[in-house]
């Protein structure tokens, strides 16, 4: 009984202290930005009906910028703020009869920072990874031996081109449906360079239907250069690389039509794919072609695995060009990536153990704000 009375009194006192809390208001420069925002923070009792924030450049005339609730606690003012200029802020406490009860004032000067401290963990990881990659590139240049595991899908590429030549059928290369700003498209186009060289050497034919105009120009240039490198510039057909449409399913319809009409000996799907992946791969399967696919889209990988003969999963797509070039420089970078993978595994394990022990330092450090 006595305990419950004490407990009730404690709760009552706690509530009173919360409700009787004083209003504090602070304006300060928003950290880690380009000097175009001021951060406003306040602590106010929850019983307050509303707060009105106003800004002034001369500390005389205030212009309302927002109506907020006490619970919000923070507001970022990024409307027309200039770097290096001082701004005064006023917090008006409004009661439930819409009358101003009290004003609170604060001032701050916006300033731009030269380093984003929120990204320090990203910088450290990037330095580690880049150092590992550069180290192994230099190691490979000095003639160090590197073991790179076999990637069956890429080893089969030459076989696929040979098969196409023997059968007198073309090869279809699909570089995904995204533009050049997607790294997967660039990785796909890098592989196209190697493939087109083989096609030129074997005197086979290649079709590269593309979905984006920028990819069209790049792919055309890559295929042309590959024919030149193979010593057969005369064999290059500029119409072998062509644009279909930017629309996802229009493009799929176009590529499916090409596969069904041309009956290619080999289909390559290397790039960024979405819902069209299975439609393309199944049509290719029906046509009886050897199919090699590669994407970093986790949701599309199962479809390619089910419908294609070989699938490059995630990082293999990005590693493909280095693997095919067989240059020590490029193979060294792959080894560097493996070291990066080992670092990530160690950090993940350490994070799991620390979290289980209730230590949140690593999670908070790695968290990007």
């Amino acid at each position: 009984m006595r305990v419950s009375v004490f407990f009730t009194l404690f709760i009552l006192l706690l509530s009173l202290s919360l409700f009787a809390q004083e209003v504090t208001f602070l304006a300060q420069d928003n950290p880690n930005d380009d000097g175009e925002a001021i951060k406003l923070e306040w602590v106010a009792p929850v019983t307050i009906f509303e707060l009105v924030l106003a800004r002034s450049e001369d500390n005389i005339t205030f212009t309302k910028i927002a109506r907020v609730t006490p619970l919000l606690r923070t507001y970022i003012d990024d409307e027309n703020i200039e770097d290096g200029k001082e701004y005064s802020y006023r917090l008006a406490v409004i009661n439930d009869e819409q009358e101003v009860e009290q004003y609170y004032f604060s001032a701050a000067t916006a300033s731009a920072q030269w380093f984003n401290t929120d990204k320090i963990s990203l910088l450290i990881m990037a330095i580690f990874l880049a150092s590992a990659i550069v180290y192994f590139i230099l190691h490979a240049r000095r003639g160090g031996r590197l073991y790179i595991r076999k990637i069956s899908g890429l080893d089969t590429m030459e076989e696929a081109v040979g098969r196409a030549t023997e059968m007198g059928k073309p090869i279809v290369f699909v570089p995904g449906i995204m533009d050049l700003d997607d790294m997967q498209t660039i990785a796909g186009l890098n592989i196209l360079g190697h493939l087109a060289t083989k096609v030129a050497q074997y005197d086979s034919t290649i079709h590269v239907p593309v979905c984006r105009s920028m990819v069209l120009s790049t792919a055309k240039e890559i295929v042309k250069e590959s024919y030149l490198r193979a010593g057969r510039p005369d064999a290059f057909n500029p119409d072998s690389v062509y644009y279909l449409t930017d629309d996802q399913f229009g493009y799929v319809a176009g590529v499916d039509g090409i596969i069904l009409r041309e009956k290619p000996a080999a289909n390559f799907y290397l790039g960024a794919f979405y819902a069209e992946s299975l439609i393309l791969a199944e049509t290719g399967f029906e046509s009886g072609a050897i199919q090699i696919a590669g994407t970093a889209m986790p949701t599309q990988i199962p479809f390619f695995v089910a419908a294609c003969d070989y699938t490059l999963i995630g990082e293999e797509l990005f590693a493909a060009s280095a693997y095919l070039s067989n240059e020590p420089n490029q193979l060294g970078s792959l080894k560097g990536q493996d070291v990066g993978k080992a670092i990530i595994i160690v950090v993940l394990l350490a994070g799991v153990v620390l979290e289980m022990c209730g230590v949140h330092f690593l999670k908070d450090f790695l968290n990007l704000h």
């Binding site: 930005d33 380009d34 770097d83 731009a112 920072q113 380093f115 984003n116 990204k119 990037a126 990874l129 880049a130 990659i133 590139i137 700003d181 790294m183 660039i186 890098n190 360079g193 190697h194 984006r212 105009s213 920028m214 069209l216 120009s217 890559i222 250069e225 490198r229 062509y242 279909l244 449409t245 930017d246 629309d247 996802q248 399913f249 799929v252 319809a253 009409r261 819902a275 299975l278 199944e282 049509t283 970093a296 986790p298 990988i301 199962p302 089910a306 419908a307 995630g314 990082e315 797509l317 590693a319 060009s321 280095a322 240059e327 490029q330 970078s333 560097g336 990536q337 990066g340 990530i344």
Partner: protein, 231 residues
């Protein structure tokens, strides 16, 4: 020089983008947004190249009377109609060169471009998308064969998820008491999707992220030159 200039530009732009990620101060802070804007402008102009390629390839095929050449005429006519409708009468958001007449709006209910988009294009797109269901069935039929221990595991996981995600799963295992509810099919399906599936996907994404970093470094440092047609 033909190779060196693009490589120098790639190195400078790539380095600047990486540096700007850590420096919020002007001019670095909004550098990537500015470059993205440049990319959009260039791709806007590149669209013309795409349309020219489309016309050229189709006209060549019609001229050479390749098999099924009639379909290429349909493609070109459809393309021209859409372009003309867009330029002449505009779209819902954009006005065209001509004023849309009341009678035309009453008859179609939309501007001609929007009408064709809604009643032709959207249906054709939906038709292609719906093919996915059939292809999924045929691919699953091949993938879910118990040929090896791995494919047997795949088959079991797939059956559990499929049953757990439908009302059959709840009906079959609804009788299991709450104390053993982890044996109910919907719970098993949720577990598979939430833990093994998410772990696998994240592993792929982390490795792909590393691959992107590696590829980017190779391109920035000029080690990877396939995009220039070089080795």
């Amino acid at each position: 020089m033909r190779r060196q200039i693009p490589m120098i530009i790639t190195f400078l732009v790539g380095t600047l983008i990486i540096v700007s990620e850590f420096i919020p101060h002007k001019p670095f802070g909004n550098l990537s947004t500015t470059l993205e804007g440049w990319f959009l402008i260039i791709s806007g102009f590149a669209i013309i190249l795409g349309q020219l390629s489309l016309f050229k390839v189709n006209i060549i095929k019609i001229h050479r009377r390749t098999p099924n050449w009639q379909y290429y005429i349909i493609a070109l006519v459809s393309f021209s109609i859409m372009v003309l409708c867009g330029i002449l009468w505009g779209t819902q958001q954009q006005p065209g060169l001509l004023t849309v007449r009341e009678g035309m709006l009453n008859f179609f209910g939309y501007k001609p471009f929007d009408y064709i988009f809604k009643y032709f294009f959207e249906n054709l797109s939906a038709t292609m998308f719906s093919l996915l269901a059939f292809f999924m069935a045929s691919a699953s039929y091949r993938a879910f064969r118990a040929r090896s221990p791995e494919s047997t595991l795949l088959l079991i996981a797939a059956v559990l998820v499929m049953l757990g995600r439908t009302t059959i799963g709840s009906t079959l295992t609804g009788w299991i008491p709450n104390s053993l509810n982890f044996l109910q099919l919907p719970k098993i399906a949720s577990f598979i999707m939430k833990y093994p599936n998410t772990a696998g996907q994240r592993a792929i994404m982390i490795c792909a992220g590393l691959g992107v970093i590696g590829s980017s470094l190779r391109i920035i440092l000029g080690i990877e030159r396939s995009y220039l047609g070089g080795k």
